[in-house]
Subunit: 417 residues, 2 copies
C-alpha cells in the first residue's frame, strides 16, 4: 500500500525546524510494511493545502497529515480534508466533553474557548482518535478506496497518537502488510574500524538481513534488518544473526535497540545491588539528569552534587585546597577527588565525576575547550579518563555526560561478573 | 517568487535520516526573500520523479532538487529534469576535464569511469556549477518562465554549492527578492488558546506583519514576521508591533528570539549581581544542566545538589526528618526546605528546588504522576509553586526544569526593578 505523508506548518517551510514528523512516521510505517513513497510539506494556505491533498489522494492509497488540528484560527486541515474527501462535518458531543474535561484538569481556572469547542467537529463517518497528550483529536476517514488520516502536529502528541491509536487502527483495518524487524546496537567509543572488524563479516553478501551504520551524536548506531511476511518469520531470519551479535559484544558496553547508556547502567547496577552518585562540574547536572531519565532510578541513584566553583568543590566534596591550587579544577587529580568526595557524601558504592572546559571561552593550548576528565571511584579504586570532545558547549556537555555513564558501565563489566 | 524544494533519496522515505537539506535551503531562501511554499520528497523511481517535477513546475516558479546527481546508475535527476523542461542533453568537455582532474587528485590510482564521464552531460543552455566537494556538477536551467535547479544530495556538498554557486547565481539572475524579519517570543505558562485571546487583536486583519504560534516542549512560541524590500523597511513595519508586544509582556517572564529561559535567568541575575543554586529531586540535575547551557554561567551559578532519596535530602540539604515524615518528600514543605537548604549550602542569593513524581509508577489520586513542587528561597522569602505536568517521564522532567527557571525569573521581576 502506497503512502504519502503530508506535513503542514510554515515553520517547516521557513526552515525553522527539521521535519521530524515525516521521519518518524516513515520509519514506523515502513516497519509495518507500508511503502512510503512521497513526503509533502505545505503551509497554512487553504488553496495550496487542498491541491496538495487532491494530488496526494490521486497518487497514494493512504495519505497521513500532521498539523493543523489545534484550536487556533490557522488550524484548518480537518475542514479541507473533509472537503477533499466529499464528507460533511459533524459535531460530536462526546469529543466536546473530553476537551472540556482536559481543560478543566489542566487549567482549572479557565473555561473551554470557542476555538477549543470547534475541535469537536469531525468529518461524517470518520473514526476519531482521542488525544491524551492535548485537546486535538485525530481522525481517519475512508472514501472511494482511499484513506485520509489527520494527526496533530506537535511531535510528542503525534507520536502518542500514532502509537496508541493509529497503529492499532491500521492493523485492525488493513491487517498485516508484511513485517520489517530490526535490531539496533549503539556503540559509544569505537569508530567504524572496530565495527568493520567485529561485525561486518556477519552480513557480507546478504540482502536479507541487511546491516547499516549511522553516526549519531556521541555514538555509532548499527542496524540489522530482516523483512518477511510475518513478525515471526522476520524474527526467525534475524535470530541467528542477533544471537551471534550479542555473543561477540558480550562484556562490551553497548546499548541494544531503544536502550540508552543510562538504561544499561541502571540494569548493570541493579543486577549487582550497587548504588551510584555523581559530582558534576562542566556537565552541570546532566549526568544526574540522564541517570534519572530511567524509570525506577531511585533504586540505585542517590544524587549528584553539582559544584560549579572551586569553593563548592572544597566545601561540599572535600577536594583538597592543595589539589586545586597545584593542578587546577580541570585535572585528573580534581576529577578523582570529586568522585571520592561524592561517593563519601552520598554513601554510594560507586561515584562518577566530570570536570572540564565546555567553552566557548577559557581554552588554552594545554587545556583546550572540550577537554573533560571523568573520574570514577568505587570498590576497585579510583580511575580517571581524559577526553577532548568536538562541538559547541551543549554538544560537549552531552558527549561528556553520555561517556561518563559508558565509563561506569565499563568499570562494572571489567571488575565484576 | 514561489519555490518548491524536491529532495530525493530512499533513506528519507525510510525514515532513516531527517530532511536537513529541505530545512537548510528553506531557511536560506527565505532570508533572500523567496517564498518556499512546498517541500516534496520522492524516491529513485523515474515515473514518480517525473510526475513530481511536472507538478512542482506547474505550481512553483522555481524548483530546486537535491540528490541524484552522482555517478551511480540510480542517479537520474538531471536526465528527468531535462526531459520535463524539454531540453536536450549536451556533452561539455570542460566538465569532463574537471571531473578527470578531481578523480586524478583524489584517486591517483584510478581513471575516470564511464559513469563519472556521464556527469559531463548537462541540459542544453543550462548554467552549471562546479563542485569542489565532489564530482557531480549542479545545474540551473530556465525555460518557459520556470527555473529548475539540481543540487547534489550529500548535505556538505549541497551547502557548499548553494553558498558558493547558487546563491550568487540567484542574486545575479533575479536581484533582491526583499527581506523577511521576525521577532520570536517564548511564553512559558499559557496555552495557545489563551495567548490567542491576549495577543491576536494585534495582528487581526493584517497580512504584513503576520503572527503565528507554535507549541514547543514546555512553552509556546509566538512569531511576528514582516516582509519588505529591505531589512530597514521590514524593521520599520515590525517596530510598532514589537514595541506593543514588549509593552504588553513587560514584567512577564518571556524569552525573545533565540533566547532560552536559562539565558533570561542569567541576564536578570547578572543585572542584579545575584548568585543562584539549585536542589533537585525529580529533575535529577536537569535544572543545573539548563542553567549551565549558558556560556559564562559560572559568574552566577554555584551548583545544584541532586538529592534523590530522603536520606540525602536530610543529610545534604538539612530537610527536617519531621517534614519528610509528616508531609512526605513530594510536598510544598519539603520543596521549601530544599530551596532553603541549597541556598545555605551553596551560600547563594537565591535557590530553586524541585520535588515531584516523574513516573511512570508511584502516582496516587492525591499525588498523581506529573505533580511537581518548585520551591524558591531568596531575600524576599520562600515561595512554592505546584504544577501537574502531562507527558512521559523525560517530558515531565523537561517541563519541570524549564518552569523552575521561569519561576525564578518571575520571582526576580516581581521583587526587584
Amino acid at each position: 500500500m502506497l503512502v504519502e505523508i503530508v506535513t503542514t506548518g510554515s515553520e517547516l517551510l521557513l526552515g525553522e525546524i527539521v521535519n521530524e514528523n515525516s521521519r518518524y512516521l516513515s520509519q514506523e510505517l515502513n516497519t509495518l510494511g507500508y511503502s512510503v513513497v512521497y513526503h509533502t510539506t505545505v503551509g497554512d494556505n487553504p488553496d495550496r493545502m487542498e491541491q496538495v491533498l487532491r494530488t496526494a489522494l490521486a497518487r497514494a492509497d493512504m495519505v497521513i497529515t500532521t498539523g493543523g488540528l489545534g484550536p487556533t484560527q490557522g488550524d484548518m486541515t480537518k475542514l479541507i480534508g473533509a472537503k477533499v474527501m466529499g464528507l460533511p462535518m459533524e459535531y460530536h458531543p462526546e469529543i466536546s466533553a473530553a476537551i472540556r474535561q482536559w481543560v478543566h484538569e489542566h487549567h482549572p481556572e479557565r473555561d473551554m474557548t470557542a476555538n477549543q469547542e470547534r475541535q469537536a467537529m469531525i468529518p461524517a463517518g470518520a473514526a476519531f482518535f482521542s488525544n491524551e497528550a492535548g485537546t486535538a483529536p485525530g481522525v481517519a476517514m475512508q472514501h472511494g478506496g482511499k484513506m485520509l488520516v489527520h494527526l496533530p502536529g506537535p511531535p510528542r502528541e503525534m507520536r502518542w497518537m500514532y502509537e496508541q491509536r493509529l497503529k492499532p487502527y491500521l492493523l485492525r483495518t488493513f491487517g498485516s502488510q508484511g513485517y520489517i524487524k530490526s535490531v539496533y546496537v549503539k556503540i559509544y567509543d569505537m569508530g567504524e574500524a572496530f565495527i568493520e572488524e567485529k561485525l561486518m563479516d556477519l552480513v557480507q553478501h546478504q540482502s536479507n538481513p541487511t546491516l547499516a551504520m549511522y553516526a549519531r551524536p556521541g555514538f555509532v548506531e548499527v542496524r540489522i534488518t530482516a523483512r518477511a511476511a510475518t513478525e515471526a518469520a522476520a524474527a526467525v531470519l534475524l535470530l541467528p544473526l542477533e544471537k551471534e551479535l550479542r555473543q561477540r559484544l558480550h562484556r562490551t558496553a553497548v546499548a541494544y535497540d531503544q536502550e540508552t547508556m543510562a538504561d544499561v547502567l541502571g540494569r548493570e547496577l541493579l543486577k549487582r545491588g550497587y548504588t551510584i552518585s555523581a559530582a558534576e562540574s562542566c556537565t552541570g547536572g546532566l549526568v544526574g539528569s540522564l541517570i534519572t531519565d530511567v524509570p525506577g532510578a531511585s533504586a540505585y541513584f542517590r544524587g549528584s552534587a553539582g559544584t560549579y566553583c572551586d569553593e563548592m568543590k572544597q566545601h561540599i566534596l572535600g577536594v583538597a585546597t592543595e589539589t586545586l591550587r597545584t593542578y587546577s579544577a580541570v585535572s585528573p587529580q580534581t576529577a578523582g577527588e570529586m568522585a571520592q568526595g561524592s561517593r563519601r557524601l552520598y554513601r554510594a558504592d560507586i561515584a562518577v565525576s566530570t570536570t572540564g572546559l565546555a567553552g566557548p571561552d577559557g581554552g588554552t593550548a594545554e587545556q583546550p575547550v572540550g577537554l573533560v576528565y571523568t573520574g570514577i571511584d568505587g570498590p576497585w579504586g579510583t580511575i580517571v579518563r581524559k577526553d577532548i570532545y568536538p562541538g559547541d558547549r551543549t554538544e560537549i556537555k552531552r558527549r561528556a555526560a553520555a561517556r561518563a555513564l559508558y565509563y561506569v558501565v565499563q568499570y562494572l563489566l571489567e571488575n565484576t561478573k
